[in-house]
Symmetry: C2
Subunit: 362 residues, 2 copies
């Protein structure tokens, strides 16, 4: 008889700002709890527990090792600089911890493969922290773009992710430091644009990536803004733009043979509990081409739990299945992460080779 | 003393379907009237007058010459296949007719230059039939993207224009015939995408155009769908997608350093009398990055006259100025047409050279 399921016990490895949001999500998820927090500074870990409403009995460690080695930790959430992912995620997997890894998952697919191989060989679940995939709006949108009568075959998709950062960010944030997050905006937010494009194409890997212009770099050579196109063997084409230097945007404009989809806040909805998108299907001109019929439709999707809590809940469900029912880790999530990273790598290669097209090979 | 202004007298040269819409617009515009209609078939011209509510005393001609040579015609509207534009627009200009030319204006900038030179040397006004530029929504949107505090400098713009055509269209329409409209979708609707991009960049000509994938062609080698990117000397980048094979779309997503603009029906609003767009300015995350503040804003712009009647009204105003006040033709409109055609030519060249970048030179 299976052991009775109790909440999955999370350890937080690193107290980056995003860890506050994810800690709240773990607290909100019904099947997860926080049992340990580690930082390079014990003081920082202690303050993190106190100031973010974490369980007062959560253990605090002045090191990442403390959490990774703690036998009471089932799963680790790792909001570490990307350059540290291989070391700490591999070590955690070896200690049989399930891994929820902050994005971008790795600096290259070869790095990611080390992490995924460690997860595979240790039988632990891997998931990256792409929250929007867990929003019920995303499920509804995917249902629409999978509908052969209302959307048809995907023809084109454009995606953006941008936000205008502060001068302080440009000087100090890990996302612009070559030794910490060398992919800069391409990793931090281009990863999401690429993820939306793969999502819209039902994860059919594109054949070719090409960067569209010389990216904007900081003095250390880290990308602050870039654009690229992806194309497939058939007639599908995708473009994206990501930037730390533009107004906030998170757009998807996806066009199929019979319908189209638009969303403007895919990664983080404007509001936590309700999210919008619009669709158009089989539209035609009215007489004299002075209007459309039918007009596009607006949709609103409500959610009680925010998308990050739904992510935690799904991750904890998979961990619970493994822990209590001896199932195997679910391969869907690492596969999505890996395809995304493959495309990130190809775009980076195209940027580095002077905008020449780069073949994407699995 | 100036002659008293009376409505500008239009002759319609060709009875294509779009001529019905423009004839209605001429009828709606307070300063314009239709005095002649010519078709290769007298019967077709006669039926056109009768079935479209045109003035019963409008003259009908079984030829284009009839209209172009008619001394009572001030201005001609030419909805002819693009391959006929040079011949008929040049002839009309030589007969001192002001020219309202249907889009795409020409098959190449060298063709267009013949038309523009004829207009210049004969002192007649040239304007192409890009209606959306005359909608009050467009003025409001331009005001927004010109605002240094709410939009800032343009960083990226994506534009689409697509509609799913019928099997009949794919077999019979002039827009897919190599001898009539050899640019296919690139001319018919790519022209509009490029126009929006130039508009968003305040008509700063891009430096480079590159096609993004092998276009979809029909059996005769005419483009049915294509995509391209444009880039400037600075960090701006633009992309567009146009297609006869996708659901109807007319999107602009423009991002500046401080704001962004979205419109989904720029070319032909969903509804004739009111049109929407949305803007976002200086948005930031709320605490914990679980939402935006401020949220994007929706705007609705009403218009009593449809955009095509506003175009006619503006064109007729310029013609009236020349006719009654001896002013010179306004150079803004031909300049916009020519810049657009320059970019169309560059995209076509990139398509034809296997997706290599093409420099855009004036």
């Amino acid at each position: 008889m299976a052991e009775e399921a109790s909440p999955v016990r999370f350890g937080i490895v690193g107290c980056a700002d995003v860890a506050r949001k994810v800690s709240r999500a773990i607290t909100l998820a019904p099947n997860a709890t926080i049992v340990a927090v580690g930082s390079r500074s014990l003081d920082k870990a202690t303050k993190f527990v106190a100031s973010n409403g974490l369980p007062p009995n959560a253990k605090v460690y002045g090191s990442y090792e403390g959490v990774v080695e703690d036998p009471e930790v089932d799963a680790v959430y790792m909001p570490l600089p990307t350059s540290l992912h291989v070391k700490w995620a591999v070590l955690a997997a070896q200690r049989k911890k399930h891994i929820l890894l902050e994005t971008p998952v790795a600096l290259s697919v070869s790095d990611l493969d080390k992490i995924l191989e460690a997860c595979r060989s240790n039988g632990v679940q891997f998931m990256d922290d792409t929250m929007w995939l867990h929003h019920p709006r995303t499920t509804k949108m995917f249902h629409f773009i999978s509908d052969p009568n209302h959307f048809g075959r995907l023809q084109s998709v454009h995606s953006t992710f941008s936000y205008g950062v502060t001068p302080y960010f440009l000087e100090n944030d890990i996302r612009v430091k070559p030794d910490l997050d060398a992919l800069g905006a391409l990793g931090d937010i281009g990863f999401y644009c690429i993820g939306t494009i793969l999502w819209a194409s039902s994860y059919e890997l594109p054949k070719t990536a090409r960067a569209l212009h010389k990216p904007t770099y900081n003095d250390a050579g880290v990308i602050l803004a870039c654009a690229a196109s992806l194309s497939w063997e058939d007639d599908k084409v995708a473009t994206f733009y990501c930037s730390f230097l533009s107004d906030m945007s998170m757009d998807i404009v996806a066009m199929g043979t019979k319908g189209s989809l638009r969303v403007h806040d895919y990664a983080i909805p404007n509001q936590e509990k309700e999210a919008k998108f619009s669709t158009s299907s089989n539209s035609d001109w009215v007489e004299l081409s002075i209007g459309w019929a039918p007009n596009p439709s607006e949709h609103v999707v409500h959610t009680d739990l925010p998308q990050e809590a739904l992510l935690i809940s799904e991750f904890a469900r998979l961990v619970g299945e493994i822990k209590y029912n001896n199932t195997k880790p679910e391969d869907t999530w690492p596969t999505i992460s890996r395809k995304t990273q493959l495309v990130v790598d190809a775009v980076k290669a195209s940027i580095d080779n002077g905008l020449e097209p780069v073949q994407i090979q699995d």
